[in-house]
Symmetry: C2
Subunit: 336 residues, 2 copies
C-alpha cells in the first residue's frame, strides 16, 4: 500500500537507471539491430529489476498499430463459437496478434453497434464478427469500417467478407440422409429465427425436401437448448405423424432423445433423429447421435489467415465456404 500510488516505471526511468538515453531503451524493447550487447544487457537487467512493462496505450497511440484483432461474438459460451475463438486465438498469437473479444448479450442493433464501436475505438487492426444476427451487416455498413473485417456467417450478402461452413449444404446432407433411409415425413426443429445459421439450416432442409417432392412442414422454432428439445418432443410425440426429425443442433436433439425415451418411442426403430454441430458429447448420447460435423477450428484458422493477408495489403478474396460432413451414428435408421 505504501508504494501504491507511485506511478509505474516508464522508459525514461529505465534509461536513467541504466545510464543510457530513453531511445536506447526503446531500441532494446524493439530489438533493433545496432546496439551493443553489453548495453542491451544492462538495460534488460534494469527492466527486470524495476519490473518495467511497456505501456501498450502509449505504443498504440504513436504507432497506431495495436497488434490486436477484434472479435465480436454473441453467445461465445456455445460450443461452436468458443471452438472457433480458440482456434482464432491460437492462429493470431502465432502471427503476433492478440485478440480483443467483445461479447454482446443481445442481438439488437444498438448493442451490435456499440460492440463494434468499442472495438474500433481500441484501434483494433481488423475485426472478426461472430455474431450470428442479420443486423450485423447493417451495423458494419453504418460504421464505415475501414479495417479488414470478416464475418463468420454464411449469408450471400457480402461474400468478400464472409467465411463459414456451408450451413445450407449441411442441412441438406442431414435431410438427404433421412430421405435416403426411406423417411417421407421429416420434421425440423430449428434455432431462433434471427440467427443466420438457424435460417440457413432451415432453408437447406426445405430445399432438400422440395427437391425430393416431399411434404415440407413448418419448422418448430426452438432456442438451441436441450430443454426446448425435450419439451417440444413431449408435445410433438403425442401425434406420431412423422418418423424423422432433423434438429438444428445437437443439444435440441439430445432433449428430443430424452423425450422419445419417456414416450416409449424407440430411436432409431420408430424415430430417426439427426443433429447438427457434432459436439464432442454427441458420440455418447443414447443412442450415439447422427449429426453434421462442422470444423469450427478450421473456420477460425482460415479467418485469421484471410485477415492477415488483407493486413499485408492483399485484396479481400472471395468467400470460400467449408463443407460440413455427415457423421452417421446410431440415432438414424431405415424406416421399418
Amino acid at each position: 500500500m505504501e508504494q501504491d500510488r507511485v506511478r509505474a516505471p516508464n522508459i525514461r526511468d529505465v534509461a536513467r537507471l541504466a545510464g543510457v538515453s530513453y531511445q536506447t531503451v526503446s531500441r532494446v524493447l524493439n530489438d533493433s539491430p545496432s546496439i551493443r550487447p553489453a548495453t542491451k544487457q544492462r538495460v534488460l537487467d534494469v527492466i527486470n529489476e524495476v519490473g518495467y512493462r511497456p505501456n501498450q496505450a502509449a505504443r498504440a497511440l504513436v504507432t497506431s498499430r495495436s497488434r490486436t484483432i477484434g472479435v465480436l461474438s454473441a453467445q461465445s459460451s456455445h460450443y461452436g463459437p468458443s471452438t472457433s475463438i480458440s482456434a482464432i486465438e491460437i492462429a493470431a498469437r502465432e502471427a503476433g496478434y492478440r485478440l480483443s473479444i467483445t461479447n454482446i448479450s443481445s442481438g439488437d442493433y444498438a448493442s451490435i453497434k456499440s460492440g463494434l464501436d468499442y472495438l474500433l475505438s481500441q484501434s483494433v487492426e481488423a475485426i472478426i464478427v461472430m455474431a450470428p444476427q442479420v443486423r450485423v451487416f447493417d451495423a458494419i455498413d453504418d460504421l464505415m469500417i475501414t479495417v479488414p473485417f470478416l464475418t463468420l456467417e454464411s449469408t450471400g450478402r457480402d461474400p468478400r467478407h464472409s467465411l463459414s461452413v456451408d450451413q445450407v449444404a449441411g442441412a441438406r446432407l442431414a435431410t438427404r440422409h433421412l430421405i435416403d433411409l426411406g423417411h417421407t415425413e421429416i420434421l425440423h426443429i430449428s434455432g431462433p429465427q434471427d440467427w443466420i445459421e438457424a435460417d440457413a439450416r432451415m432453408r437447406g432442409y426445405l430445399q432438400e425436401l422440395d427437391e425430393a417432392d416431399l411434404r415440407t412442414r413448418a419448422p418448430v422454432l426452438g432456442d438451441w437448448t436441450a430443454h426446448f428439445g425435450y419439451y417440444a418432443g413431449l408435445e410433438l410425440l403425442r401425434f406420431r405423424d412423422f418418423t424423422a426429425v432433423f434438429c438444428g443442433n445437437d443439444q435440441m436433439a439430445l432433449g428430443l432423445l430424452h423425450a422419445c425415451r419417456e414416450m416409449g418411442v424407440d430411436v432409431p426403430g420408430d424415430m430417426s433423429i439427426v443433429g447438427f454441430d457434432d459436439i464432442p458429447e454427441a458420440a455418447h448420447f443414447f443412442p450415439p447421435l447422427t449429426t453434421v460435423r462442422q470444423n469450427f477450428a478450421e473456420v477460425g484458422r482460415r479467418a485469421i489467415s484471410h485477415i492477415l493477408s488483407e493486413l499485408r495489403g492483399d485484396e479481400p478474396t472471395v468467400h470460400e465456404q467449408l463443407t460440413p460432413e455427415l457423421v452417421v451414428r446410431e440415432s438414424s435408421g431405415r424406416l421399418a
Copy 2:
C-alpha cells in the same frame, strides 16, 4: 479505398469543423456540465458526420484508466468458465467496465506469465484469473501485481484474493450421497492432476470416504472429456468391484453412462453415477444425471462486485466460498 490511408479524425478535426476548441469537444465527450446545449449539439453533429471515435489508447495514456478488467482464462470453451465469463462481462458492463479476455492454451508457467504480462501492459485496472492451474499463484507473486486481482479458484492459498464455489464441499456432497445410498465401493474419475478443481474434488471424495471409514481407491486420472469417461468405463467395467462412481465432471459421467450401456450395466440398478457441474445437458442424459450444481454465474457476479469495491478503495475482503448444491436425478440409486 480512395480514402483509405487518411488518418481517422481526431478531436481537433472535430473542433475545427464545429468551430470550437478541442477542449470543448473533450467536454462534450465526457459530458461535462457547463456546456451550452447548442454548442453541444453542434459538436455532436460533427462527430456523427465525420464518424469520429475517441481513441482509447490516447485516453488510457493520459488518464491511466482503461476502464478495462483483464480476465486470464484457460479453456474458456468449457461450460463453467464460459458461463462465469458471461456473467462477469454483464456485471462489468453495468459498472461501465469492459473485459479484456486472454486465453492461455497451456498451463505452463511461461504462458501464464505472458498472459498476465499482456493484461498488465494493457493497463487493465484489475485482473480476474480463471486459469485453474496452481502455477498461477507463482506468476502472480512474481509479477508484483499492484492492481486488484481475484482468482476464481478454491485453494486456501490466498483467501483474500480468491473466490469460488467450494469444490471440496461439492465433492463431499456427491460422495456422501452415494454412501447414504448404501454404496461402499465408490470409484472416482478425476480431472487432470494440475487442475485446482480436479484436485479439490478428489480431496473432497477422499475425505468423505475416510470419515465414513470406507476403502479409498486411487482415483482414475481423466481429462474431462466424454471420450475419456467412455474408454475408462469400458476398461473399469471389466472388473465390477465397485457399485458407484463419482465423476469429476458431467462430460466424463456421460461417457461412463455410455460405457455402462454397452457393457450391459444398468444405471442406477447395477451402478450409480454422479457427475459434477450440472451442465444444461445433464438433465437429459440417459438416465438424467445426478450431479453437483455450481452457480457459475453467481461466481462471476461476485467477482466483479469484489473487484469494484476494491477499485473504490476498500480493502480486499476475505474469501467467501459459495456452496454447491446436489441435484439428485436418476443416475444414482440405492444399492440393490
